[in-house]
């Protein structure tokens, strides 16, 4: 019941209150900021599955985001596919790339995995930049059609907002179920001690690949949303710095937490916009927020254990022996 109420409040806020407020304060620019936050929320939630839950630090997420964006842009401009085909296809293509590229790195752990994924991200970026025949290289792809459906809705700020919001909610639902389930326990076991997990019968390599595939799927969809909502993409959007930004959002929000991932995106993208009046000093403030959040909140604002304890307090009944349940199912 409580859960139903909190979900209704969330849906109401995202689908009615927020767009209403944004229209009231004058639309355009703030809608743009909000859709960017939405896209980065999806990216951070998905990267969180790999880094926060499965415990593999991925520094190449922007590369997969780029694969999704370019897949969408090319399908939409060259083959004129509509958004409801480009987005899922972008997700699947990215997931396939993710699995293929990740296979050789699956034996790596810790910092070695991080450096390998950093390399993967750079390879993707450099490919996008130099394969001029296919990706138009540094010129980027422009005039990508927006999100519209004949007779129902046309491309506009509001359409973009709803597309991003609905997909972000779906991503939160899917990733939430993966994380807050027994399956999520298996992923967490890989994070805590992969050898021990293997000796308990968990297929560690399989779990790593699965989490990579799901995360890349959503990174690809986020890339597709970015391409459709901005209308122009270039390799510069998918550099290493974006991967670091995603990582910073995860850490500020709290590793392993889905609300934390969204909160991280809101803070690190919203703060520079809100602080525009103080000019370039605002980046110092953003840096300070990151620095102090690491210093004083090593688990982030909504880190996993604190979120877990909240869940436990709220769902105390779920621990009842007679219900045979440990996790909310």
């Amino acid at each position: 019941m409580r859960r139903l109420i909190s979900i209704s409040i969330l849906l109401l806020a995202v689908l009615l209150v927020l767009p209403g407020v944004l229209s009231a304060v004058g639309g355009g620019y703030w809608f743009r900021v909000t859709t960017t936050i939405g896209v980065f929320s999806i990216l951070t939630m998905s990267a969180n599955l790999i880094t926060g839950t499965t415990g593999l630090m991925s520094l190449g997420h922007a590369g997969f985001y780029g694969i999704g964006a370019y897949t969408t842009a090319l399908l939409a401009t060259k083959l004129h596919w509509p958004f409801f085909l480009t987005l899922p296809v972008a997700g699947v293509v990215t997931a396939v790339f993710g699995i293929l590229l990740a296979l050789p790195t699956m034996r790596l752990i810790g910092i070695y995995f991080a450096v390998a994924t950093l390399g993967l991200g750079e390879i993707i970026h450099v490919t996008l930049l130099n394969w001029v025949d296919f990706t138009r290289g540094p010129m980027g792809i422009s005039a990508i059609p927006g999100i519209s459906l004949d007779g129902l809705f046309s491309a506009s700020d509001i359409t973009n907002y709803y597309a991003v919001a609905i997909i972000a909610l779906l991503a939160a639902l899917v990733l939430g179920r993966l994380t807050h389930s027994y399956y999520g326990n298996a992923l967490r076991a890989v994070r805590e001690d992969d050898q021990c997990a293997a000796s308990m019968g968990l297929n560690v390599v399989g779990l790593k690949i699965q989490s990579f595939a799901f995360a890349c799927f959503f990174a690809g969809v986020a890339g597709g949303l970015w391409a459709h909502t901005t209308g122009y993409i270039s390799p510069g959007d998918f550099r290493f710095s974006e991967s670091i930004l995603i990582l910073a959002m995860m850490v500020v929000g709290g590793l392993g937490s889905i609300p934390g991932a969204v909160l991280g995106a809101v803070i690190l993208l919203g703060l520079p916009e809100v602080l525009r009046p103080i000019g370039d000093y605002r980046m110092i403030v953003v840096g300070a927020v990151m620095f102090f959040s690491i210093l004083f909140l090593p688990r982030g604002l909504l880190g996993e254990t604190s979120v877990l304890s909240v869940v436990r307090r709220q769902f105390g009944l779920a621990w009842d022996r007679t219900l045979n349940l440990g996790w909310r199912q």
Binding site: Y183, E192, A198, M200, G201, G326
Partner: protein, 254 residues
């Protein structure tokens, strides 16, 4: 009937070091077997070979007539060999319940699609197995506690509970009594006896001789990677070769 676990001339070399050399031995169904030997004799390496944590250099391991020598560690676990670790390896950031559910997940399999579709039967099965293992080990009241907050002794039981959730046929315990006081050791021995009474075969390494001698029906002794004795606790403790391995020979002492 063939034994549950049969090790045939197992060898493991680390470079020039012969950690386990030509070790043959077995564990029968329902038997409690102890493995003892001085430090560095290769006991833990042998455990790692049985659970396929470390690949064999040569030789073979059979479990229930299946050659498991070339299997991956998680396959061996699913076949029914569960283990605990010498240096406790509980997952500190997970709750006690979640720790134990790992074993149940190993036994019943883990699919992302079961999580996405909220397959209820599957979740109930995992929950039931987990609670059973928690109740067997007396940890049910601490189910929601973080593993990091448990006392050392309780963490030992947590590791055993996790192994039991796998519903193993062979339980391998690596120094279960290390760090426990006498009362706790006696309780643990009683607990292991009870598990054995339920039909579980047990293979354990332990330095506490009272524990081994009172609990095990048969003892294998290792020194420098080789098996030097195999017999009842009485036979082994009077074996001159064993005494020599532990205490040094008379000539050396002289």
């Amino acid at each position: 009937m063939t034994p549950l676990l049969e090790i045939k001339s197992a060898c493991r070399y680390f470079g020039g070091l012969h950690a386990v050399e030509d070790f043959s031995g077995h564990v029968k169904r329902g038997e409690r077997v102890g493995l003892i030997g001085p430090n560095g004799a290769g006991k833990t390496t042998l455990f790692n070979l049985i659970t396929c944590f470390t690949p064999l250099s040569s030789g073979a391991v059979f479990f229930d007539d299946t050659d498991i020598s070339s299997l991956k560690a998680y396959r061996v676990a699913r076949l029914g060999i569960a283990r605990t670790f010498q240096n406790l390896r509980v997952m500190p950031n997970l709750s006690v319940f979640d720790n134990v559910s790992i074993g149940a997940l190993g036994a019943l399999g883990h699919s992302p699609f079961a999580a996405l579709t909220k397959r209820a039967n599957y979740a109930n099965d995992i929950g039931r197995r987990t609670w059973d293992a928690l109740e067997q080990t007396g940890l049910q009241d601490q189910a929601s506690e973080l593993a990091a907050n448990l006392s050392y002794g309780k963490r030992k039981y947590l590791e055993i509970a996790r192994a039991l959730a796998l519903s193993p046929r062979l339980l391998i315990l690596d120094e279960p009594a290390a760090g426990l006081n006498d009362t706790e050791t006696a309780q643990l021995a009683e607990f292991v006896l009870r598990l054995s009474g339920e039909g579980l075969s047990i293979l354990l390494v332990e330095h506490d001789m009272n524990f081994v001698m009172s609990l095990c029906e048969r003892v294998m002794v290792m020194a420098s990677g080789r098996k030097i004795a195999d017999g009842s606790p009485q036979e082994v403790s009077n074996d001159p070769v064993v005494l020599e391995a532990y205490l040094g020979s008379e000539e050396e002492a002289a």
